[in-house]
Amino acid sequence: MTAYVLRRLLHGIPIILGVTIVTFILFHVFGGNPIASFLGKNATLADIAAMEKEYGFDKSLPLQYLDYLYQIIRFDFGRSFATREPVVDMIISGVGPSLSLTLPALLLTSLISVSIALVSAFFRGQLVDRLLVFLAVIGMSVSFLVYIVLGQYLLAFKLPLFQIHGYEAGFIDRWQYLSLPIIVMVVVGTGYDTRFYRSVMVEETTKDYIVTAFAKGLSRRRVMFVHMLKNASLPIITRMMISVPFLVTGSLLLESFFGIPGMGNMLLTALDQADLPVIKAYTVVISILFVLSNITTDVLYAIFDPRVKLS
């Protein structure tokens, strides 16, 4: 088992290196002079030179790349251009609000989608199923932005159930701000997830072992909830695991729209101000998380699926 985990981690290294190369090329080779774009047109050459020296931009590209790698290894991404704060501190302060938004949203979406998908698969081909599938497709076809705008208008403006905009850090206080974006996120995600989970379940119900289970005289409920669901749970867990890195990225749209000071908002501000250290750090941290969560998924598979061999 340990050997398997180690091997999977080793496989992740070229991907993480790839991410660093891609982001480095994007920002350092194609991105033009980041200092100049940050300081704007009014900066003097001396200002630019001073800042270039401070951030190591006067070195050759390969050296800059090595600096970048060294930053990643130490998990220290220097200071932000704009705020002069250590980037790591900014990330740490952004993770909390992002997680408070995305974690409940992911759990609720998964719970609701799996339940709807179960109902749909249980009544496969009947009116209930067709209706649910149709609703899911409709849900998928409405723009994210429309959900946000209408959600805010109806639930926070017309019916003042929630705060329109803003955030308070208190553990209880934050929910009056977070509830609405969480609702929007759940509504947006449910259409996609329901369809995915339903097709996974329907796929399972065409397998031979389902017929065997019925042939034993088991009830439809038992066949679906025990035999089918246990098999379907692997793809369900996988999909949830794949979402884990996105928990940390936060939601760019929702955070900026509702003014939640999370990771997404931080990135948007950084993009707006051409704050390269923040953008670079954000990209690489998220990508590493992505690779790690993929590895974790594989390992979980190996633990839960009796068929997977570790060799």
Binding site: R124, G125, Q126, K207, D208, Y209, V211, T212, A213, F214, A215, K216, G217, L218, S219, H227, K230, N231, D305, P306, R307
Partner: protein, 342 residues
């Protein structure tokens, strides 16, 4: 045919299928997969249902337990008499009591027919728990005992294995154990040996023969393999394109086939025997007709070597003959082969 000691009194039937018709509906229209199929299963016999793939034999066997997918298939006509029940009409609740306990079924590919994420012990005891209210311990010992009977070595250990940890032959034995653990009256075996190699095939067939002897189980053996039929079946039903085209005792069918299709199946047997380990039937030229376009005449007409004008225009009725051993032999052909009754 030792069960025919008193010639004039046919034994009561274990299962009797009359005029069974099954329709499949899809976006592309519907087709009749099985049409007016009738046959009877006697107590303690092994009845072979033979035909190429797509002829309706699997649909027939699944229809008996009403295991066809509900949302696009329907039994439109017929009767399946089992004891006092007509399985076409009994409630789902009664059907569930019958499934697994009174009529059990085993399938072609034991790897996919066993649930991969449960241990075999769980899957067998689950069948017991469904029908008997006995303690877990008793369930477990019943299951282990059954595993031993079907020839699984060290069943106490195997009980906790997952299907993928067993070999193909062992998996099929587990399937058989699962089907027989409640001592059902009837066993439906759908191509139980197809996925196995020849030595294992023989072992599984032996096992089924032993079971029949020991538990007096009546078995319907669905197969495309006449070699299998020759080895264990007492009587044979030959199906083609959703219809029964010939049926009779194994002796009659093998010695004196009347329908050209049966004869062709037989001809293809020894040759394919030499070439492959499975007695597949690829040597009959042409394909089973598309059931969506039903021909007016005999369904075998376009592949038959002796087709006449009449064969294309008019579908033959089932003709029966009783032989010296008082066994009925029937066929559906205008110009049957042979003709000299033995």
């Amino acid at each position: 045919m030792n069960n025919l000691s008193s010639p004039n009194r046919m034994p009561p039937m274990a299962l009797s299928v009359t005029d069974l018709t099954v329709r499949f509906d899809s976006d592309q229209g519907s087709l009749i997969a099985v049409e007016n199929v009738s046959f009877q299963l006697r107590h303690g016999e092994i009845l072979g249902v033979v035909g190429e793939s797509g002829c309706g034999k699997t649909v027939t066997s699944k229809a008996i337990l009403r295991l066809l997918p509900e949302h696009f298939s329907k039994i439109t006509n017929g009767k399946i008499q089992f004891g006092n029940d007509d399985l076409v009409r009994v409630t789902e609740q009664r059907m569930r009591q019958i499934r697994g306990a009174e009529i059990a079924m085993i399938f072609q590919d034991p790897m996919s027919a066993l649930n991969p994420v449960f241990t075999i012990g769980y899957q067998i005891t689950e069948a017991i728990a469904q029908h008997r209210s006995i303690s877990r311990k008793a369930q477990q010992s019943m299951a282990i005992d059954m595993l031993k009977q079907v020839g699984i070595p060290s069943p106490e250990r195997r009980f906790f294995d997952y299907p993928h940890q067993l070999s193909g032959g062992m998996r099929q034995r587990v399937m058989i154990a699962m089907a027989l653990v409640l001592n059902p009256k009837v066993l439906l075996a759908d191509e139980p040996t197809t996925a196995l190699d020849v030595t294992l095939q023989a072992q599984i067939l032996d096992l089924m023969d032993t079971i029949r002897e020991k538990h007096k189980t009546s078995i319907i053996l669905v197969t495309h393999d006449l070699g299998v039929v020759a080895e264990v079946c007492d009587r044979v039903v030959v199906m083609y394109a959703g219809r029964v085209v010939e049926q009779g005792s194994a002796v009659d069918i093998f010695k004196n086939p009347r329908h050209p299709y049966t004869a062709r199946l037989m001809e293809s047997l020894p040759q394919s025997d030499r070439h492959s380990r499975h007695h597949r039937l690829p040597t009959i030229s042409g394909l089973v007709p598309d059931l969506r376009q039903r021909p007016a005449g005999c369904r075998f007409a376009d592949r038959c070597l002796i087709t006449q004008q009449r064969c294309v225009q008019e579908e033959p009725e089932l003709v029966s003959e009783v032989n010296a051993a008082h066994e009925t032999h029937s066929w559906r052909c205008h110009y049957p082969l042979g003709g000299m009754s033995t």
